[in-house]
Symmetry: C2
Subunit: 526 residues, 2 copies
């Protein structure tokens, strides 16, 4: 394996010299799930361009198959957590998101969510321990002579390692509470008047009442998060905080774009590279192509609930299958659970689907999705209208974005009945506005000066060429929160003003007394 | 002339079809001075790409030579102002900037500046009248069937005409008080803690005292500007304001970049295309090349005070010429005034210089500049360190930027003595840090995903293709200032909180009285 890699490196180096580009040595921080799926095409492009890519991978991972032959080198580390513990947490989280949440009041939801996040933080820090507390791993990283670290900041401690290795750090971020990670740590201004809080399900166009709620939502989320982060701050231990360390990243590659986001302020070191993983559709395998073609003019509907959710309850699957049976389209449903009793002949269940190739097929009329960013971006890329059945995390918010842009309808997973889904499907398939809006988003996606993948690769290479991107970093990162918001200036001006008023008052009083006293004295003497 | 243009249009149309791009019909708003010089290369590129470009030109212009053979069509309009009136104002303005300002206190400067701006506003509105009040011109513009208007917003009313013609509007802007035009009208967040007020001469790294001054500077400038703008608002007459109309522009092409600017927030419809006019150096004319080569290893210094200033006082020119005579380099000085008595043999005076080609010459060691953006960008492009002698407008601020980035020293035009200039020149030529920093800025300039001119052209074409760029426009433009800053929300929450406290107090009071009364009653009855 090592010899193979050495040969690879030599070939790459030759390739770089030939193409007159400087080849870098990139350390990629471990990540998981759809984040890993999203990252891989960028890593492939970096390898194609002759860079050496090493991926930090834990001994327990859902998605990183480090045994498979790969174009990257894997740097392994051990995490003292069992996969069972993690799975239990995941199951709890899914149960909460799918079923329990609907039975709870706001306070209960808040407490449960806070507890889940607290438990999750322990896991995240265990991953940090696996790297930072292991002399062997740290020694290998030091000896690796990396030119930069490329990390998704939802997995912690890349900033600490970047500091130890003294190399630049580039973040790639999707799941973000805009007003928290990007706002508090990334120093991007986030006016609550038109930037809806992440998970708030508001759009950028808010009524007065929504703006009030959004304002309060910001306050609650900010306070909760900063409170939660004290655990991270303790781990970070130095004369800094977790959030301050995040602010040291050279560049943030945000994995959305203005086809998906509501336009909002950014800083020069924030680059929007949404749809980084998208690519033109390839030919389908023969059996799938035959199935799709057999749909005739009605076309097909593609349905998946994402890479994290394989099974749903029998009751739900029956409701869904019954709905799918009522539309004239054929349906391809990625589902590995028990076969629903109501499954109609027009619907085919598959353990896996070539999602991107299907969405790019001319016969595809709609996409039923859980609202993960990767799937949404493939639908945008190919201009396919969506029916969203969001399940957890940012999925509800994502689908609200697509609905606001007129390219989707949203179902509520818990309360959804057969007729709701039928109605939703008929709407996006038969009402031409959904297709038109999906095509408009597709045009926006495709019509930009540089493709998202090229832009991401450009900035990664830029950071390696220049050992950072200092010219894009605002001074905001060096200010405390009260300096940033000019609160010290405001307090000073207020105090000065008050003092000036007080002195003026005292002088006036003195003059009046003097004046009255004199006239009083005068009158007395007269 | 008209036939020629018709043939041109046909050729262009054929060219467009051949290149499979849709050719547009662009109306360019009149502009002046360095703004016009800066715009021309973009217009040339647009013409090269097959678009039809029509430039609105007034009958009186300093820079637009509408009689010269040109690749653009000129749409003429009359302004009822004499060139003498305008020249008088300019002379007043220059006198104030060059000489009077130094003898004045802050209040006097403020009042004089306010008066000058007020007089200037009358001129600007006269240009608007020349277009909007002329049925003939407006009729021709309506019949022109333009696809968009491309305008520098320092010249007014392009927004009103864009609304009348119902076409998208793209701004190209350099001279801007960031916190006024871009902040108040463009809705870009401008935190006073690290975004220095335009003309304040602060950098982004401010001490507490500077932050206090900057905060106050914002307040004074904002209030003064909004007061001044009431004159414009009256002219705009409709249910809107001058500033609100500016906010309707589809896109803002800002003619700076992060080589020049301090990193600060932006919005997605703000594109930084600084150095849009720069190009590689061409071969010098033989006599100039011989002069440059004759400098040997010492090289040459290029000196110009810009396109607006031809002459300075005899005293000043003698001070400058004496300094130039004391350096070993040869000097090329663009100067059409009286020959200074102290002029040394190493200095050649010229009425005009091929500035860009000279700055790109290997033998050029330094650039003495008034600090206009165009010249600075050419110096950045070629990596030449600068000695700044700022005269008026944004020039002081521009040079402060270059000094902060370590690529320039600054002279004070009024107090500068011969030895100051000699010292400044020796510093930037002999201290390698200036050259290194200039080269660093040059690398930043050149190392971006798309060249500034290509990016500007891309977005202009985008706006024509999509009839705007709505997906980049933040909802901020639809909010009032108090909604934008959540002041109504804040007031509501404050009022609600106060009411809740009041009710709680009343209830508590009621309970206490009830309780006391009962015990009192009880005791009485016992």
């Amino acid at each position: 394996m090592k010899l193979q890699l050495h040969i690879f490196s030599c070939v790459f180096l030759g390739f770089c010299v030939f193409r007159k580009i400087s080849c870098g040595n990139i350390l990629v921080w471990h990540t998981e799930g759809s984040h890993w799926i999203n990252l891989k095409p960028v890593l492939d492009t970096l390898v194609d361009r002759g860079h050496s890519v090493t991926v930090l991978a834990p001994n327990m991972s859902f998605f990183m198959d480090t045994d498979e032959p790969s174009r990257y080198h894997y740097e392994m580390f051990n995490v003292s957590l069992s996969l069972t513990d993690r799975n239990e947490w995941l199951e709890d989280y899914f149960n909460f998101s799918f079923y329990e949440m609907d039975q709870m009041n706001l306070l209960q939801i808040y407490i449960k969510f806070y507890q889940l996040l607290s438990r999750d933080m322990v896991f995240r820090l265990a991953y940090c321990d696996g790297i930072l507390q292991s002399e062997l791993v740290m020694d290998r990283l030091l000896k690796g002579k990396y030119d930069m670290i490329f990390a998704d900041p939802i997995h912690l401690c890349s900033d600490l390692v970047a500091e130890t290795l003294d190399v630049p750090l580039v973040y790639t971020l999707r799941y973000s509470a805009a007003h928290i990670l990007e706002g508090l740590c990334g120093k991007v201004p986030v006016p609550p008047s038109y930037v809806p809080g992440a998970l708030s399900k508001f759009t950028d166009k808010m009524t007065f009442s929504e703006r009030v709620q959004n304002f309060l939502f910001y306050a609650v989320m900010d306070v909760s998060t900063v409170t939660l982060w004290t655990k991270y701050d303790k781990y970070y231990r130095r004369s800094t905080t977790y959030c301050e360390m995040m602010g040291k990243a050279d560049l943030w590659l945000i994995r959305t774009y203005w086809d998906f986001e509501y336009p909002r302020p950014l800083l020069p070191n924030f680059k929007y590279v949404g749809g980084i993983h998208c690519s033109p559709a390839k030919q389908l395998p023969k059996d799938l192509e035959d199935f799709v073609q057999s749909s005739g003019d009605d076309g097909v509907v593609v349905f998946t609930l994402g890479s994290m959710v394989d099974k749903i309850t029998k009751e739900k699957s029956n409701i869904i299958a019954a709905a799918l049976g009522q539309i004239p389209q054929k349906v391809l449903w990625r589902y590995s659970g028990e076969r629903p009793d109501t499954l109609a002949p027009n619907t085919r269940l598959c353990d896996w689907l070539p999602q991107n190739d299907l969405l790019g097929h001319a016969k595809t009329k709609a996409f039923i999705t859980h609202g993960g960013t990767n799937g949404i971006y493939e639908a945008i890329y190919h201009g396919v209208p969506m029916v969203g059945i969001p399940l957890f995390g940012d999925q509800s918010d994502n689908m609200v974005h697509m609905k606001a842009k007129g390219a989707a309808v949203i179902m509520d997973f818990n309360s959804m009945q057969t007729e709701d889904l039928v109605e939703g499907l008929k709407a996006v398939i038969n009402d031409p506005s959904y297709k038109e809006n999906a095509m408009r988003l597709s045009r926006i996606y495709h019509d930009r000066p540089v493709s998202p993948r090229d832009e991401a690769v450009f900035w990664i290479e830029f950071v390696m060429r220049h050992k950072g991107a200092r010219h894009l970093r605002a001074v905001a990162y060096n200010l405390t929160w009260y300096q940033y918001h000019s609160l010290d200036v405001f307090a000073f001006l207020l105090a000065t003003g008050a003092l000036a008023l007080f002195i003026a008052y005292k002088i006036a009083k003195f003059c009046i007394i003097k004046c009255c006293f004199r006239s009083h004295y005068k009158r007395k003497n007269d």
